[in-house]
Symmetry: C2
Subunit: 324 residues, 2 copies
């Protein structure tokens, strides 16, 4: 357990100074503030309850809006958000929009009416204008809405670059990228990373779009594999899409990884469990969900945020869908 003393020691300041920075009270130089915040971030220090209760909460409820609770990525995210929220004394209202903009708008207005303290948004809606009228704290998680809403995401482009390079390293010569919905900045970043690598390596390639849905992905991959010859690699826009590709390969009697190699994106538990286990780009889901709650809580407590965009590093995890 990291204490305020550890932070003070690391930042080479007094405990009182750390407390002033935490509570945004008293005079502290910008440089000292930065040092303390870096120490907090580095040590992963979480202010204790006493510090937190300095702020009187209105409802002690925060909302988490997800597009599809049956996509395993979101329960994992919901669980981490809920875990962290609990440490702040918040109850989480989970709202599932099923990808419907109308439902999302309904939820946002109903949550505001209920005096909710803040909302974490992980949905597909990308019209920045829609969020203009919301006057409660917001955090965008795994989605980029606009530059004014604090955003927690992963290095999507860099992840795609790693994934695509890996496919080339293991010998792929014609690679398909099935991307998620084009409305999402995150999926376009992944596509850009893919294109950068295949174009530079001068590798034959195809980009198609699918939903983050196993069945849609399966059908998309099935058709492509029937229509086009020589496809030997897939970079999937998400693990759910990758599972759909495995299903399609299975239906066509293709062996993985001998005939077809696949890299996913997300690092969901089901990808590890699946047979064959997925090679994938792992996002640090726990850390991302936790930071989203921290940023929301800081806004609720009227603290200033150091920055608005937090991009987490990603990891290539080798499973059995690519050759070793």
């Amino acid at each position: 357990m990291v204490t305020i003393r550890d932070v003070a020691k690391y930042a080479n300041v007094s405990v009182a100074t750390v407390s002033r920075v935490l509570n945004n009270k008293g005079q502290v130089s910008e440089e000292t503030k930065r040092n303390v915040r870096e120490a907090i971030e580095h040590l992963k220090y979480r202010p204790n309850l006493v510090a937190r209760t300095l702020y009187k909460k209105t409802s002690s409820m925060i909302g988490l809006i997800v597009p599809d609770i049956t996509n395993p990525f979101f329960p994992a995210l919901a669980r981490t958000v809920e875990d962290r929220a609990r440490s702040y004394g918040y109850t989480v209202i989970l709202c599932n929009t099923d990808g419907s903009t109308e439902k999302e708008a309904d939820y946002i207005s109903s949550l505001q009416q209920k005096g909710i303290d803040g909302i974490i948004i992980s949905t597909n809606r990308s019209e920045a204008d829609d969020f203009k009228d919301i006057d409660i704290p917001l955090v965008a998680l795994d989605r980029i809405v606009n530059s004014e809403i604090p955003t927690v995401t992963a290095e999507n482009k860099n992840g795609a670059i790693k994934a695509t390079k890996h496919l080339i390293d293991v010998g792929c010569q014609k690679v398909v990228h099935i991307q998620g919905p084009r409305e999402l900045a995150t999926t376009n970043d992944r596509k850009d990373g893919f294109l950068e690598v295949v174009q530079e390596a001068d590798i034959e390639h195809v980009v198609v779009e699918a939903d983050f849905d196993i069945k849609v992905a399966e059908e998309t991959a099935y058709q492509l594999l029937q229509e086009q010859t020589n496809i030997d690699g897939f970079f999937a826009g998400s693990d759910v899409i990758a599972l759909g590709i495995i299903k399609a390969a299975h239906r066509l009697g293709l062996n993985i990884p001998e005939d077809l190699q696949i890299v996913g994106f997300d690092g969901i538990e089901m990808g590890k469990i699946f047979i064959p286990s997925l090679t994938t780009i792992e996002q640090p889901i726990y850390e991302m969900g936790a930071l989203a709650v921290d940023l929301l809580s800081q806004q609720i407590e009227k603290k200033e945020l150091d920055k608005h965009l937090y991009e987490f590093p990603i990891n290539l995890v080798i499973g059995n869908t690519t050759k070793r």
Copy 2:
């Protein structure tokens, strides 16, 4: 769309009578009430918004408490509860207890403080006494708490009987049942069904306990398959347990269904997607979640319930983990 007219016609009464039954107002004979309710159930009629708003809601929020949101059964359940709740104008607060009795108690008290209208409970807590002090409407979903709390469940024992008979039909001679936590009435019902069949058929059998957790189930199955010879069938207490058994078989180089046959319980989407796809006992998840919301809503609107225990029929779905 079924209307109040359809119900009246089916029950052979006037629309006004149906309305009286729906609103629990005016004089209606017990027999007529029963006919109308049967018609409503048979036609799956849902009272419209006008009827519903006759009751003034306090918070328009209901709680759904689940033990593990990362177990795919619960997101599916949460989605259906949320869908149905939305049709009543309720927002759902989803609470994930991670199997902790303490968290569950915290959630229940915090939900009550927030003036929630009612709670649907799908958790592992089985101490009926713990629910004595709760003075808001409750529904137990896929769990049996006590006879006073309206309960929506599936024919667990019957499902287990079907599953076990199927394993014998396809030639199994030594069958293992990995049951879920013993604290749950539902898992014990499944175990009872299993025992009834294997004892009557005089088949060699083993019963062990595991959590509803893929890794725990995998380790349990792995040890059993190493320690005991001739095991050729598993009846898993849930689909998640069945996926763990497949993983264990895979690690040991056993072929499914040639060497080992497996039947699950639940009918989660991942069981259909998995390779091999699961043979399982399918619960009507959508109908169960919807009815739980209906029963909660009826209690919130101070309507009398016809009965307290609703057991849904189940289906044996043949996948690729048993021989055809």
